[in-house]
């Protein structure tokens, strides 16, 4: 019997498996917050599917008391696409890492995003390969020294937000592992969105890349280093007494100090609009440390038809126009002839 009617709690979404991340790993917080959000989403537990690739982050499905599929490295979006096309009523979540999703799996992510299947993609970005013990990843900063780059990485990193926008994403957001409230808010928004909701979650790996996101994770510095995007609100950040705003002119962002009590709009500060063009989203994506704060929140949220809706519609239209398929009719279609018994 479905539990949909029963009021669920976080506990209902905890599986019986021991959680096996390193002590202090940011994944714990993401897991706990997602388990907290799930009951609010109004989806019956049996209709939820978590799909992941390979990586520390990809262990996620084991810990959710829903359906879960821990697949192979980089291909989770494709498995998830198959599930969603097959059974559009299921609530499908993809959990991936910066290596899984953007290194080996970049192409599937690209195509899933452009097809706009209605599913959520959570990319845990710790800027390192955790599971294979600490090589640099496509999001690692240039020059990062790791076992595989003892003289410093030579790759110019890929920005997950810019990548998603370049792929034509209809929903793009960023949030932070340990910022429970913001994380939950973004997860809810992602779930509400019809289409592929791409969420980059900044995640700390205390073992191989500790402190990568410290500035926005630490409660005492967060205000100064995180630019919280809110629909219709100006791009303002900073402590109460040292607010600063972001201007965007011809796609080029710049900072402006806001005197106490000043109206940001009068200082030319841009107002956030999730429905603006991808080019605006791109300008937002270029706002990044060290010069700028790190924007968090929903960069873009627009509507577009989903792949599975179009597919279902084609099936329905075919049935309507041609009637439900009849095997005997198919086999006898076109030219046939009879050989009579002698």
């Amino acid at each position: 019997m479905s539990e949909a009617a029963v009021k669920l709690t976080k506990k209902n979404f905890e599986s019986d498996q021991d959680v096996r991340w390193c002590p202090g790993c940011g994944d714990y917080s993401i897991l706990a917050n997602l388990q907290r959000v799930m009951p609010e989403l109004g989806v019956a537990r049996e209709n939820v599917v978590f799909v992941s690739g390979i990586g520390c982050s990809s262990r996620f499905p084991y810990y959710m008391n829903t359906y879960g599929f821990h697949t192979i490295h980089g291909r989770a979006p494709s498995f998830a696409s198959g599930i969603k096309m097959s059974r559009p009523e299921l609530d499908v979540w993809v959990v991936t890492g910066d290596g899984d999703g953007l290194s080996i799996g970049g192409n599937h992510l690209l195509h899933t995003i452009r097809r706009n299947l209605n599913l959520q993609v959570l990319l845990f970005n710790n800027r390192v390969y955790g599971l294979t013990k600490g090589q640099y990843s496509p999001t690692s900063l240039e020059g990062m020294r790791t076992k595989s780059s003892p003289e410093g990485s030579m790759d110019h990193p890929v920005d997950p937000i810019a990548f998603a926008l370049g792929a034509g994403a209809t929903f793009v957001a960023r949030t932070v592992d340990v910022d429970a409230k913001h994380l939950q808010h973004v997860l809810r928004r992602a779930h509400e969105h019809r289409g592929t909701a791409f969420v980059e979650i900044l995640q700390n790996c205390p073992v191989y890349n500790d402190g990568e996101w410290e500035a926005v994770e630490d409660k005492t510095t967060r205000n100064r280093f995180a630019l919280v995007l809110e629909q219709g609100e100006p791009l303002v950040f900073g402590d109460k007494d040292a607010r600063r705003g972001v201007r965007i002119e011809s796609g080029v962002p710049s900072l402006v100090d806001l005197p106490d009590g000043a109206d940001p709009l009068e200082h030319g500060v841009a107002v956030h609009d999730e429905k603006r063009t991808a080019a605006y989203g791109f300008a937002l994506a270029s706002i990044a440390p060290p010069q700028f704060p790190t924007p968090v929140g929903v960069f873009r949220a627009v509507e577009k038809s989903t792949y599975e809706d179009l597919l279902t519609a084609q099936v329905e239209r075919a049935v309507q126009e041609r009637g439900p398929g009849e095997l005997a009719a198919l086999l006898h279609s076109g030219d046939t002839w009879t050989v009579a018994p002698d």
Partner: protein, 619 residues
């Protein structure tokens, strides 16, 4: 109904004598743009309606449209039809219809000595001869070796349509119908079906042009001195029933549709275009009314991953590809082995290695499909024997996949894919109907609790209350399916995976021998080599050399009695289009001295090639 025969309502009604013959093979050859495939297909349809047994083989160039008149652009279509049972498109055509010098040059050596060669005289210009690489006009020399018939097809064609106001290019496009009409007359085939098809297919004035030219060709045959007689191949004695022509790829696609219907589960096809498998995707994309979902993925990896996702979600997941795509699927296939999900993966083999010869055939992916995954990863393999058999093999593959909760591989090939044969349409009621069972009962549910008979685990799909569980590619604990690194458990699970597949041997028909049950020589075949080998065995027998024939539809596991059967023969010959893959399996499995007869030229076996070896062995 007996098949339609040329009646007096047909143009003319031949006043010339009609010669009855048992069989004939015709090859149409021309430029890719000359419509050879269409000509061949239409002739095939008429021949099928005339009640002959038949077999066809198209031969495409690898280029989309190579420069006109060059050897690279030659396209061909061969049809073999007969009043007796036949199984191959024939080793050598009796008749060659060549539209230009390049086509002649590329094909003339295949024609039977003293066979008929019909050429479009108009195309033998200096320029065309050069393009084909001829230094001088080849026709004079051919007159001695063949019955050469030179017809100004181009001119006659233009003549026929001259008042229709067509551009010259438009006009020239109908000239293949001239040849078709002529061949209809020569072999006493009905023209009506083609006329009707033209009427439906083309708008005026093209329709008018094509129909006129078709008739012009027919009348030309009747009238000209060039042909003293026409020929009649009487209907074959074939099993009664309703028939149609079918290519391997169409049969394969229909088999997938049928599996969905018979198992009462929607079908999901994940595919990425690749020669010669793309047509299955094209065909299936037309059957949304059956609930068939087709997905053209960004690559083969995404295609199979989506199909595995579909299977996980309770649909009949399926993939179609060819060798270079197949190897990309092995990682996801391995996941399906580990998670024990039903899935059917079809490899329509082509000649390789690497990009190889994409439009040519080969049977060289057997070992790759059997062994090409990391670690020990057993899966069942089934292979169709004929174009029509592709339909039934797909039903069998899905039956095994769902009953045993396992991915299954199907090995077709480029030859089966494109060649056609008359196919007795099965009564839907006679097809296996076995609705797939999804698990719904949470009571005592465990994802890897097995059915003791089949060793299959339950198919528990998302959306089912109470069955929430997690699976994945890490080794699973027996019964619970939890992640397990236990050495004992890994050994046990490896064994269970092997036992499950091995057990299928009990659930497939035993190997059957055609011919004596024991003796000096057994010919063992698999896949599309069936036809040539069967004919070779029969012909050798008629010539006084008796061998037996065993065809394997199941390549993993082998039929339970196979070892015993092989043991009854002194020698075992395995004709295969590779360097000896099945032979190696038989040798390893049964320690019998199976000898391969290898052919690796991108072309199917000729009957003669197998026959020669049989007779050499038995001589």
């Amino acid at each position: 109904m007996t098949p339609a025969m040329p009646e007096s309502s047909q143009p003319g009604g031949s006043p010339k004598p009609v010669h009855e013959i048992e069989r004939v093979a015709i090859r149409f050859v021309g430029d890719s743009g000359d419509g050879m495939q269409l000509t061949g297909t239409k002739f095939t349809e008429s021949t099928a309606l005339a009640g002959n047994d038949l077999s066809t083989l198209p031969d495409y160039p690898a280029e989309i449209r190579a420069p006109a008149g060059t050897l690279a652009g030659v396209s061909g279509f061969q049809i073999h039809f007969s009043s007796v049972d036949i199984r191959t498109p024939a080793d050598k055509p009796d008749v060659l219809v060549a539209f230009n010098p390049a086509a002649l040059r590329a094909n003339i050596d295949d024609v039977k000595p003293q066979g008929m060669v019909i050429v479009n005289r108009d195309a033998f210009t200096k320029r065309n001869l050069e393009r084909a690489g001829y230094d001088e006009d080849p026709l004079p020399a051919l007159r001695e070796r063949f019955q050469l018939v030179e017809i100004p097809i181009g001119t006659l064609n233009r003549e026929a349509v001259k008042d229709l106001g067509l551009t010259q290019r438009q006009a020239d496009r109908s000239k293949n119908f001239f040849a078709l009409g002529l061949m209809y007359w020569l072999y006493n085939r009905p023209t009506t079906p083609t006329e009707e098809w033209i009427a439906k297919r083309f708008p005026d004035p093209i329709r008018e042009a094509n129909q006129r030219v078709l008739k012009a060709g027919y009348h030309f045959g009747e009238t000209t001195e060039l042909f003293p007689t026409s020929f009649l191949v009487p209907p074959a004695k074939i099993e009664p029933g309703r028939y149609r022509n079918i290519t391997g790829n169409t049969a394969l696609a229909w088999g997938i549709v049928a599996a969905g219907v018979q198992m009462q589960r929607p079908v999901f096809l994940g595919a990425y275009p690749i020669t010669p498998a793309s047509d299955v995707l094209h065909e299936l994309a037309r059957y949304r009314q059956f609930g068939v979902k087709t997905f053209q993925a960004e690559d083969e990896i995404a295609a199979i991953s989506a199909a595995v996702g579909a299977s996980y979600a309770g649909l009949l997941g399926c993939c179609t590809t060819s060798g270079p795509g197949m190897l990309l699927k092995q990682e996801a296939l391995n996941l399906a082995v580990m998670t024990e999900l039903p899935l059917v993966v079809v490899d329509i083999q082509r000649a390789g290695p690497s990009t190889g010869l994409p439009t040519k055939t080969e049977q060289a992916d057997l070992l790759m499909v059997l062994y090409g995954r990391s670690s020990d990863s057993p899966i069942p393999i089934v292979a169709p024997a004929t174009p029509g058999d592709c339909f039934h093999v797909m039903l069998e593959a899905f039956r095994i996949a769902v009953k045993y909760m396992t991915p299954v591989a199907v090995l077709s090939d480029g030859y089966l894919a494109n060649s056609a044969e008359p196919w007795r349409i099965p009564e839907v009621e006679t097809l296996l109907r076995h609705p797939a069972q999804l698990e719904t009962d949470p009571e005592g549910f465990a994802p890897y609790r097995r059915d003791p008979a089949t060793l299959a685990r339950p198919w528990a799909v998302p959306g089912t209350p109470g069955l929430e569980h997690r699976i994945g590619g890490l080794e699973k604990e027996d019964v619970t399916g939890n992640v397990s690194y236990s050495p004992v458990n890994h050994a046990r699970m490896t064994e269970l995976r092997a036992l499950k597949i091995a057990g299928i041997a009990q659930d497939i028909p035993p190997a059957e021998v055609r011919g004596p049950e024991a003796g000096k020589l057994l010919v063992v075949t698999w896949g599309g080599t069936h036809g040539a080998a069967a004919s070779a065995v029969d012909q050798s027998h008629e010539a006084g050399f008796t061998a037996s024939h065993l065809h394997l539809r199941h390549l993993n596991p082998f039929p339970a009695n196979l070892g015993e059967v092989l043991g009854r023969f002194e020698r075992i010959l395995v004709p295969e289009l590779n360097t000896g893959q099945l032979s190696r399996l038989l040798r390893a499995e049964y320690l019998v001295a199976a000898e391969p007869l290898c052919k690796v030229s991108g072309q199917p076996f000729k009957v003669r090639e197998i026959r020669d070896r049989i007779e050499a062995i038995l001589a």
